[in-house]
């Protein structure tokens, strides 16, 4: 086993250790054991950083890959199917190393931050335990080398998300939100599982490399439509987990969880897992599936951005912004801008985590006021938060010199290139939506910065809240419980909440990723994550037409090598040993080289898109810069200079305003269609149950009862009758015979005489005739 694999297993299990320790013993430990969570994550991060250093910095090889697996379940030779095994394993390549470092770093920072933010909560220890199991599951997704274990960790992530969203479960809204999140995720996961089953039914393996080897060898016996379906079904998992349209509805509600959780799970890592998963299956997605993915991503990015501009809750703005940015990533994968999408995943994770933690600091300082309308003027009180929040905002908006600029422009350039390659028309909708969303992003973030940090405090404008008591009920920050006059108590947060902000803000600057502030492709990230060539589709048009066993001659040829050599009498011992191994791993290794960049441009369609993306790079920079400036400028015009009054504008375009404020009415639409539909359906089924199914059961019961009565009658009158008749006849005979036994000797003598006379009469009668 490679030492990196051993290290990664330790990294994987450390957060689990934290979870087990804290969930059982947090009440017996000093400080509820928070130092255990922070310490363990610190260790995990140190190990991950070492892995990152070894993989990315030392080897600096785009095709770096170490893998290890073992047979987990061996079902032996299943009749009619062949040998079935379920393997578990770990793969470490550049993407894994980067994700590993990112997840552990953000998790560590969130742990640290939570020691300040959650201080005094009555379930403080349990909170850290949940963070532990979440980190464990997320690392599991990142390290998995097969669909099956990814699915397991996928569900574990869903569970920990459920637990953390509903952390303040005394609040109804939090309990509802956790249910909503879990159910929406389930919808996606069902699709994902079906997709996994399609692949498994074909290849009897869950392993990524084996599935791709089989696909590349043309062993997929079904039609291309099935492969597209498999791709889209697997993508459904991402739709659920990464909050893409139409399952995006859960993410904004998930903001009911504690703010650091929003930063860790609902901004940086878990929601990125969907994008990571699509990246893992990228090579098996057909062009049709990729088109669907691109359009869903573009639409999500645009829709969420339009919603974000009117939200008043500071966390909801960020939540919709997250949905929008995830849309960008999905769009990026859909258009084939693979490296750019993953680049955006990482940069977004850092600046969005920074934004969420910053908003957490604001909420903390404002004593749990989340409505931006009642904030303002915090710049003077919270200089650290202000500086880091602003830097992260600029990165999110995509201003040059920030990390967000590099990644977002790479995606948009890819989108333009994609539209050019696909031949325009409707495909230009994708870059157009992308650019428009970029402008909206700049606008709503400008609005947020202005409302929160500039101007004067508007705390006193807040209407008296009759439910003030409820508002605080969920939080046990008893120290702040009573004073809601925020302006008296606004203060900068303590160092353990400030340090994560500073680190995350520092990671939002361009030079971390690329020496050129305008071109991410020159940076290490995009060099280390090259776009893999597809194993299906355009590169392999004969797929589906090949007979299932067509790869066999090839393997047989490899296997036959030693024999040939022996015959020639010129076999080298080393070759002799290597050949069977090659026969065993030949297919996997060959396709693996193909998939992981060895022939990065063996796929003409992908090569063309990448090429066109490079060509469109400066176009994208120009357009997006203009868009960002437009967006921020508009925000300034509206909120800083006051040239356009937002209130009057809202009235003027009231239908649009309400459409956005009410989140495109998706919740209402789902309420009216799916939920009402389910209720109606369930009522219908209940009616069917009570009337038809129960009717059948009751009918059968009645029939059986009738039959039983008939049977009972037969028993009573016929069987019992026979028995009674026997008894009766015996009784009667007995009664008659009893009369004969008088007990008087003389009667017997008479009977004797009668019998003798009878005999004589009989005898003589016989004698005479």
């Amino acid at each position: 086993m490679h030492s990196l694999i051993q290290l990664s297993i330790v990294v994987l299990l450390l957060p689990l250790l934290s979870f087990v320790t804290l969930i059982f013993f947090n009440r017996r430990l000093p400080r509820r054991g928070d130092f255990i969570g922070v310490g363990i994550l610190g260790t995990a991060f140190a190990l991950s950083a070492y892995i990152f250093w070894t993989v990315i910095v030392q080897s600096y090889d785009p095709a770096f890959r170490v893998a290890w697996d073992f047979t987990w379940i061996d079902l032996g030779n299943v009749p009619g199917v062949g040998p079935l095994q379920v393997k578990m394993g770990i793969v470490i390549d550049n993407l894994t190393a980067i994700m590993l470092a990112m997840v552990t770093l953000i998790s560590l920072l969130v742990h640290l931050y939570s020691t300040g933010y959650m201080a005094g909560d009555k379930n403080y220890g349990r909170y850290f335990a949940y963070l532990g199991i979440f980190t464990f599951s997320m690392l599991g997704i990142v390290l998995s080398d097969n669909l099956f274990s990814i699915y397991i960790f996928w569900e574990l992530v869903g569970l920990s998300s459920y637990l953390l969203i509903g952390f303040f479960f005394e609040k109804d809204s939090a309990a509802d939100a956790q249910k909503k999140a879990f159910l929406a995720n389930r919808v996606g996961d069902i699709g994902m599982w079906l997709g996994i089953l399609i692949l498994y039914s074909q290849f009897h393996t869950f392993s990524f490399s084996e599935v791709y080897a089989n696909l590349a060898a043309g062993k997929f016996a079904l039609s291309n439509a099935w492969l597209t379906a498999a791709g889209i079904l697997l993508f459904m998992g991402c739709v659920g987990k990464s909050a893409q349209f139409p399952l995006h509805i859960w993410l904004p509600d998930a903001m009911e969880g504690p703010t650091p959780v929003s930063a860790l799970i609902h901004a940086a890592t878990m929601v990125a897992a969907g994008v990571y998963f699509v990246a893992r299956i990228f090579v098996m997605l057909t062009p049709d599936a990729l088109h669907v993915i691109a359009f869903i991503g573009a639409f999500t990015a645009f829709m969420a951005a339009t919603i974000a501009i009117t939200q008043n809750d500071i966390k909801r703005v960020l939540a919709y912004s997250t949905v929008s940015q995830l849309g960008y990533m999905v769009l990026g994968l859909g258009v084939g801008a693979y490296s750019a999408a993953l680049f955006h995943l990482v940069t977004h994770a850092f600046f969005k985590a920074c934004l969420f933690l910053g908003s957490g600091a604001i909420i903390h300082a404002m004593h749990h006021e989340q409505d931006m309308r009642w904030m303002g003027g915090l710049r003077k009180h919270m200089p650290w938060t202000f500086a880091t929040f602003t830097l992260a905002t600029l990165a999110l908006a995509g201003l040059p010199l920030t990390s967000g600029f590099l990644s977002k422009d790479a995606i948009l350039a890819g989108a333009i290139g994609f539209a050019n390659v696909e031949g325009g028309g409707i495909y230009y909708l994708i870059p157009v939506l992308g650019f428009f969303s970029a402008m909206l992003t700049a606008f709503y973030m400008g609005r947020q910065i202005w409302l929160v940090f500039f101007g004067e405090s508007r705390t006193h404008l807040k209407p008296a809240d009759p439910h003030h008591g409820d508002h605080h009920a969920h939080d046990s920050h008893a120290a702040h419980g009573d004073d809601h006059h925020a302006e008296h108590g606004v203060h900068e947060v303590s160092w353990n909440m400030r340090a994560p902000l500073v680190i995350l803000a520092a990671l939002s600057v361009f030079f971390v990723y690329s020496p050129d502030p305008l071109d991410g492709a020159k940076g290490w990230f995009m060099k280390m994550i090259p776009t893999p060539a597809t194993v299906v589709g355009a590169a392999n048009p004969q797929i589906g037409s090949l007979p299932a066993g067509s790869v066999l001659p090839q393997l047989a040829a490899v296997g036959a090598l030693p024999e040939t050599h022996t015959a020639e009498g010129a076999v080298a011992p080393a070759e002799h040993g290597a050949a069977p191994a090659a026969a065993e791993h030949g297919a996997a290794a060959a396709s693996h080289g193909e998939a992981k960049g060895g022939h990065a441009y063996s796929d003409p369609r992908q090569a063309e898109i990448v090429h066109a993306g490079h060509a469109a790079h400066y176009t994208a920079i120009y357009i997006s810069s203009v868009m960002v400036v437009l967006g921020i400028g508009l925000a300034f015009v509206v909120y800083v200079f006051g040239i356009i009054d937002p209130a009057k504008t809202a009235v003027a375009i009231r239908p649009l305003y309400l459409f956005s404020l009410n989140k495109w009415y998706w919740d209402e639409i789902y309420q009216a269609t799916f939920i009402k539909g389910s209720v109606v359906l369930s009522k219908l089924l209940s009616w069917f149950d009570t009337n038809v199914v129960d009717g059948i059961v009751n009918g059968v019961a009645t029939l059986v009862r009738k039959f039983a009565f008939a049977n009972a009658g037969f028993d009573k009158y016929v069987v019992d009758g026979l028995v009674n008749f026997t008894a009766f006849s015996v009784n009667t005979t007995g009664a008659v015979l009893r009369k004969l036994q008088t007990g008087k000797v003389q009667t017997y003598v008479v009977m004797l005489l009668v019998a003798v006379f009878g005999y004589f009469i009989y005898y003589f009668t016989r004698l005479i005739y």
């Binding site: 008088t742 007990g743 000797v745 003389q746 003598v749 005489l753």
Partner: protein
């Protein structure tokens, strides 16, 4: 009248039949156990007469020997039966056979 001059076998048999009928009559109609015993003796003696009559007209001694055994048997029988009657009297305070029917139940 000539028939009266010699006593033949039929006369013996007739006497015997009359004796038998008398014995049977006594056995069937009398209530007193001792009288019934006496009826039984009559029946036995009717049989004895038959034995002797047939013995005489057959010219063999078998009937005589048999009747001797019957007489001995009758004596034994009378002794046992009387003993039984005495016991019955001890238990039931009566020798009326119609009232001694407890075996019926």
């Amino acid at each position: 009248m000539e028939q009266l001059a010699t006593i033949g076998l039929n006369h013996y048999l007739t006497i015997s039949a009359i004796l038998l009928c008398l014995g049977l009559f006594a056995v069937m109609t009398r209530k007193n156990a001792i009288v019934i015993l006496m009826g039984v003796e009559l029946i036995l003696n009717a049989a004895n007469i038959n034995f002797l009559a047939f013995s005489k007209y057959n010219g063999s001694m078998q009937g005589v020997m048999f009747s001797l055994f019957v007489i001995v048997l009758a004596a034994a029988e009378a002794a046992i039966a009387l003993a039984i009657v005495i016991n019955i009297f001890k238990i039931f305070k009566s020798v009326d056979v119609s009232s001694i029917d407890s075996l019926k139940e």
